[in-house]
């Protein structure tokens, strides 16, 4: 092991920026490579049974041989998750705006919202299958929407209401009304909170869609594919489907994180350290 002294890299030249980026990412890449190597190596070296954990290379190979099936199933379930995410988050943001505007309403409803948040909503999946049709993506969207609703609503509401009193006083000194205070202070102030909620919601939406599939659904769905493969001891297939679900989940999360970055380029967390 050689010890490298890491010097702070001055801003400016592109190559240096890229160099710094590479150095920032290097540890994560090394861990990733070590993880894959350990999986492959240990499974083979210890002779672990295939039905317990197949070697990674087998899983990737299975994926590649049936890539169309896996990708189609992944997209099918992703659409369920995305639909639920959009409906649930949209409704949550609208609700949060209403509750922030009319505090009395919030006082009346928040205890129930918090109680409902503690309900294991996934338990309702068989019921929504019954309501919207077991084969319809709508039943999974419904469960995903309900699951997404609470973290987005609670976070957005917190963002809209946790504004420094002086910020509001300042707006009132400019004779601003409620709508203007929302537009210019409360909504921009809420953005970091909203995105925190949305990022949590992407993960929950994927879980809801896949677990929703487990309770029955279209033959094209990823959850069904996982359940069916595991049922016939085709564990490399099940693992390949799980891999697809993981990649889609990560991409979904990253997409929202990217939008966050674009929407909040002003935010300190999106930049380097103080520029002084």
């Amino acid at each position: 092991m050689s010890t490298a002294v890491v010097q702070p890299v001055p801003r400016g030249s592109l190559t240096r920026m890229v160099g710094r980026r590479a150095r920032d990412w290097a540890p994560a890449v090394v861990v990733f490579a070590l993880g894959i190597g350990a999986w492959e190596g240990l499974v083979r070296a210890l002779g672990i049974e295939r039905f317990l954990l197949p070697p990674l290379s087998d899983i990737v190979q299975t994926f590649w041989e049936q890539r169309e099936t896996f990708v189609d199933a992944g997209l099918f379930t992703f659409k369920e998750a995305l639909g639920g995410f959009l409906i649930g988050s949209g409704a949550a943001i609208v609700c949060a705006l209403l509750l922030a505007r009319w505090r009395a309403l919030g006082g009346a409803l928040m205890p129930y919202a918090i109680a409902a948040n503690a309900v294991p909503i996934i338990a309702f999946a068989p019921i929504t299958n019954n309501w919207f049709g077991i084969l319809s993506p709508a039943s999974k969207m419904a469960i995903a929407a309900v699951i997404c609703f609470f973290p987005v609503m609670v976070n957005t509401l917190r963002g809209l209401t946790s504004v420094r009193p002086e910020s509001i006083e300042l707006m009132r000194s400019y004779a601003a009304g409620d709508v203007e205070i929302f537009r210019r202070v409360r909504i921009p102030n809420s953005l970091p909170y909203v995105f925190t909620g949305l990022k949590v919601a992407t993960v929950l939406a994927m879980i809801a869609a896949i677990v929703g599939d487990y309770f029955g659904g279209s033959q094209e769905a990823l959850g069904i594919l996982i359940r069916r493969s595991a049922g016939i001891f085709a564990f490399d297939q099940a693992w390949a489907a799980i891999l697809v679900a993981s990649v889609l989940g990560i991409l979904f999360y990253a997409a929202v994180a990217l939008v966050e970055r674009l929407a909040m380029s002003w935010h300190p967390s999106m930049r380097g350290a103080r520029a002084e």
Binding site: P165, S167, E169, S173, A175, V185, W266, E276
Partner: protein, 274 residues
Amino acid sequence: MNERPDVVSLQKISKEFGRGEVVALSGIDLNVRPGEFVSLIGPSGCGKSTLLRIIGDLIAPSAGEVVVNGKSAHQARLDRDYGIVFQDAVLYDWRTVAKNISLPLEMLGWDRRRRAERVRELVELVELGGFERHHPWQLSGGMQQRVSIARALSFEPSLLLMDEPFGALDEMTRERLNMELLRIWEASGSTVVFVTHSISEAVFLSTRVVVMSPRPGRITGILEIDLPQPRNADTREQPRFFELVTQVRDTLRAGGADSADIPEEELIAAEEGL
């Protein structure tokens, strides 16, 4: 000069928080003439910040009459007769320095070019050239407060309300900003009501110092500060400066300047339902 009506006229102002549990202000009479620099000084809990907010129609008095520029405080607020500066700069993180300064102008409906022109003047006035496109968190506390002052001055209000604007800054930055504020005050010809708990700051800046005492907050003395204008670094060295500082301190002591139990900010926040 005395022909012009008072900028602020307070008559028998009192303020109770809660159901009369805390009497923040009692029997306040005060007139502020055009072009004056009046400091309100007193220990925490004497109601000076509350009084400033009553002048700005940000909270309502329990009793008494507030007249600003010859009209009700409410009308004066709707007419944007005053600019306000708080202890924290209260800049919006999502706006650049230039956009923070031009916020009131946007709300007044100024067009883009006129705003840009005005921002350029103000950035020069508060000596922040080159930082227009920075975000607030990239600035030091003193620089942030200068942005806040520029914003308050942007639409040229006749009255400037300042609530311990330099209270959170270190002594050296504070003294430098004191000088800048005086320069700006002289250049703009506006009237300033300035809340502070620093005796030397009050004496250095003001034409009059209003000394307040706590529980209930009331005025225990008003001192004319007859130091020559313009004030400069030498002002703080003059014997008269020290005499006035001593006078203010004695007036504070005579009023029973022990600090109060409930922080005023909490009462104000509760009152405004924030």
